[in-house]
Amino acid sequence: MKQIRMLLSTAMTLAMMLPTALRAQDNATHENAVDALWRHATEAYADKRFTEAAETFTRISDMGYGSAELYYNLGNAYFKAGQSDIGANGRPFASGELGRAVLNYRRALKIDPSMSDAQYNLDLAVDYTNDTEGIPEFVMSRVWRSLRDMLSSNAWAAISIAALAVMLALATMYLLSRNIAMRKAGFYGALLLALLFIVTTLLAASQRSVELRDDMAVVVCRDTAPVHSSPDSETKVIREPSQGVTVTVGRTLGVWSEITFADGEKGWIRTADIEIIR
């Protein structure tokens, strides 16, 4: 009787686990394919076959995978491919590779804002564009931003959770201990951890909202794209951003998108000429 019941329970457990196991196997084959693609792409890059590397990294991205390293490498591949792609006007990046490079560096930094290589390469790539300087920030907000960009929102959230746990442990110590020194340590420690908890929670929330932003876009076009004063090609061209200029997207009207430049200037651009940083 007892044996039958055990058998039954085992069978049930297996039946419940089977779909999970199958999915795991499916994932494993998928990951092997991604690994092969990754190796192929990095080898192509090392062999200076940059266009091929860019295509392969894009395939990984198209399969739904993403990481800061993937976008960083994709940006590099576009940048290198574009450097030798001299157009009819004698300028490099003839097929819009610079815009794609900037876009992918920004994507990498969105996932991992502390990735210094991506920031370095982004700064270098932006030097090739005609992007304008942003409005200067206040010192405090700059400090806050650089502190925030040290970690991703997930990391800040993990720290805040840990701070909460330690804070409550110290509070317990303060509340229950009969030893004066322990109580003191518990009290002040808990106070400090509470402060840490609040700050990291705010940082995490702030970083999360940055990571969730989908109104930042990069101009991706062959050379330069005209920006009109109204959503109408007959109106005056107020600016001609080159590929790789980063803008903020506002309203959308037909094929037109309202954009704001870093220096606050607004205009309308064809939506096809920009790509949102997701």
Binding site: W38, G64, Y65, G66, Y72, N121, A125, S153, I161, L168
Partner: protein, 611 residues
């Protein structure tokens, strides 16, 4: 003795002078033959043997003129020239032996070597081949000449202009020689209205005119006298079929005709006419082949055959001293189009302008000579530097391939010795290399070869359900732990309280038990119960486990709670007495006494330590 020596010197000098004299005579004598190398059948030719010294009498031996009839000769002509150069008189004499010959048949015949002796020394001429060609029947044109106008005396093809190219197919940049030659079968008085081609697509350089510009040549089966008007070296600057514009000129031919008036008493019935004839060269094209693919990186347009020599600075120089690398490129080709090969100098070297000096000779075979490049520099920081080999590439049209020459790599040790002190402060402040690393160029950083955590989507943890769940779990855990701990502490405190409260009661119960044993006179259980009562009382009263108790701690604990030292001592003493009495059979002190003392001290402590 002395006279003898003098005589010997004089004799020696005389011998030497004589030797110089003969040597000079030997070197100067030239004996050569002058005759056209080509001649038409049916017309005579003149052969002259010329010697520029006085020959020994009757020493001239004429060669065998096989194939020719001797019409006249030898006629001897002498010439004498006297030069005064720097007050020194030089006399040159020349003797010319001339024959007039008539070829017997067409073919190639050789005029053999003539022999002559000057001052007993014999000289010979080189045998000279002469080609005799048959121009066909000339009688028609001859008869034509006899009647009509002077124009008709100059046949259409009697005067022709040609551009002759040394090669019809060359590589771009390879020199080709172009000669503008006038061919004539009549005597030319003068030429005018000369229009020379512009040589479009070429870089042209005129060659210096040679001394002897006329000769005889065959053209279309006829013998012409040729005059070399101009000669150029052409360097094609582009590839493809390059057309050379025709050259034009008007030649004035002199024609002697029989006077149409029949009889002229003085001039013998002959008149001289000038006939203008405008001639131009046929248009010619030169096929210029482009240079083949696969030019080396250091190739910058040099075509020809070159050699390179590098002269390197000493391998050890001191800081702030000047040195230079020099390269000498010599050979034949388009030397004037060569750019200075680039030399990769270390960053800390101060490099000055390259000096170029050349000595280039233009001759019929092409431009040849040497170009010297000098690369001066000043080493501004010490250390060991390696200068990459200097490369120079050129295209060799003969081998049809690129050739790259390179110097040895140069290793240069720049020492920081005392000689730097000699440099003025001015130049030292000018340069501050080597203090800070310079950013040479910027490039993006390399890719990350590790894929990192490739995720299907970027999950946000902040404010996610997991996040809130974790917060709730942590807070709940805190609340539960706190509540449980608090409860347990409270319960613990209650137990202690009760024990303290009941300490006296427990002690009294145990003492009663002891009293019962006392009445039964059971010594061992009595003392045992007494000890239990005493130890247990302290343990309960002060909440100290029995195991942790000693007489010392009891004494201390009692004293701390305000019990007099004597009483504490008494308490311990009672314990000692019980301990002793428990195992000693003797009845040194009665049970009653111990019991009374214990009762008394416990009630005393109880009254003092009241909680």
């Amino acid at each position: 003795m002395k006279g003898h020596f003098l005589r010997r010197v004089v004799a020696l000098t005389t011998v030497l002078l004589c030797m110089i004299g003969t040597a000079a005579a030997d070197g100067d004598v030239s004996f050569k033959v002058d005759a056209p190398t080509i001649t038409p059948l049916g017309s005579y030719l003149r052969v002259a043997f010329e010697v520029d010294a006085r020959p020994d009498d009757d020493s001239f031996e004429a060669p065998d003129f096989a194939g020719f009839d001797i019409l006249a000769g030898p006629t001897v002509a002498t010439g004498r020239q006297t030069y005064w150069i720097n007050g020194k008189q030089t006399v040159t004499e020349s003797y010319t032996y001339t024959y007039v010959l008539m070829p017997q048949a067409k073919g190639t015949y050789t005029i053999g070597a003539a022999r002559i002796s000057v001052d007993g020394r014999s000289y010979t001429t080189k045998p000279l081949p002469v080609e005799v060609i048959d121009e066909g029947d000339q009688s028609e044109s001859r008869s034509n000449r006899n009647n009509s106008s002077p124009e008709a005396h100059v046949a259409k093809d009697d005067i022709q202009l040609r551009i002759k190219l040394s090669s019809t197919s060359v590589y771009k940049g390879e020199a080709v020689r172009a000669s503008i030659v006038l061919y004539t079968r009549t005597s030319i008085a003068t030429i005018n209205n000369v229009k020379l081609p512009t040589f479009e697509g070429f870089w042209s350089q005129e060659l210096p005119a040679g001394e002897d510009s006329s000769s005889r040549e065959e053209l279309d089966g006829k013998v012409y006298t040729t005059y070399l008007l101009k000669e150029y070296l052409l360097y094609p600057q582009q590839s493809g079929a390059l057309r050379i514009d025709p050259a034009e000129l008007t030649a004035v031919a002199q024609v002697v005709t029989q006077s149409s008036r029949g009889f002229d008493p003085f001039f013998g019935g002959q008149e001289v006419h000038n006939v203008n004839r405008k001639v131009s060269t046929p248009a010619i094209t030169l096929n210029v082949k482009p240079l083949p693919e696969g030019a080396p990186r250091s190739f910058n347009g040099a075509v020809g055959q070159f050699t390179m020599q590098g002269s390197m600075p000493p391998s050890k120089i001191s800081v702030n001293s000047a040195a230079s690398i020099s390269l000498t490129i010599s050979g034949r080709g388009n030397l004037k189009f060569i750019d200075a090969p680039s030399v990769a100098m270390p960053e800390s070297f101060e490099i000055y302008d390259t000096k170029t000096s050349d000595s280039i000779k233009v001759s019929a075979v092409g431009t040849s000579g040497t170009i010297k490049y000098e690369y001066p520099f000043v080493a501004r920081s010490s250390g060991e530097f390696r200068i990459a080999p200097v490369e120079f590439s050129f295209f060799d049209p003969a081998k049809e391939q690129y050739v790259t020459l390179s110097t040895e790599p140069i290793t240069l040790t720049v020492t920081n010795d005392g000689s730097a002190a000699g440099i003025t402060a001015d130049s030292r402040t000018l340069t501050s290399y080597g203090e800070k690393m310079k950013q040479l160029d910027r490039d993006i950083r390399f890719i990350h070869t590790e894929s990192g955590k490739l995720r299907r989507e970027h999950r946000l943890f902040m404010f996610s359900p997991t996040y809130f769940l974790l917060v709730v779990i942590i807070i709940a855990a805190f609340v539960v732990i706190y509540a449980v701990m608090r409860q347990r502490i409270r319960e613990n405190r209650n137990i202690v309280q009760r024990r303290i409260k009941h300490a006296n009661k427990v002690a009294v119960q145990r003492l009663r038990m002891a009293e019962r044993y006392m009445k039964q006179q059971q010594r061992h259980p009595f003392y045992e119960e007494m000890l239990k009562a005493m130890w247990g009382y302290i343990s309960d009263k002060f909440n100290i486990p029995v195991a942790n108790l000693t007489k010392e701690t009891i004494r201390e604990e009692l004293y701390r709670r305000g019990v007099a030292a004597a009483d504490a001592e008494l308490f311990c003493e009672i314990i000692s007495r019980c301990d002793e009495a428990q195992y000693a059979p003797s009845t040194s002190n009665s049970m009653e006494e111990v019991y009374a003392d214990a009762m008394e001290i416990i009630s005393k402590i109880e009254s003092i330590v009241k909680r």
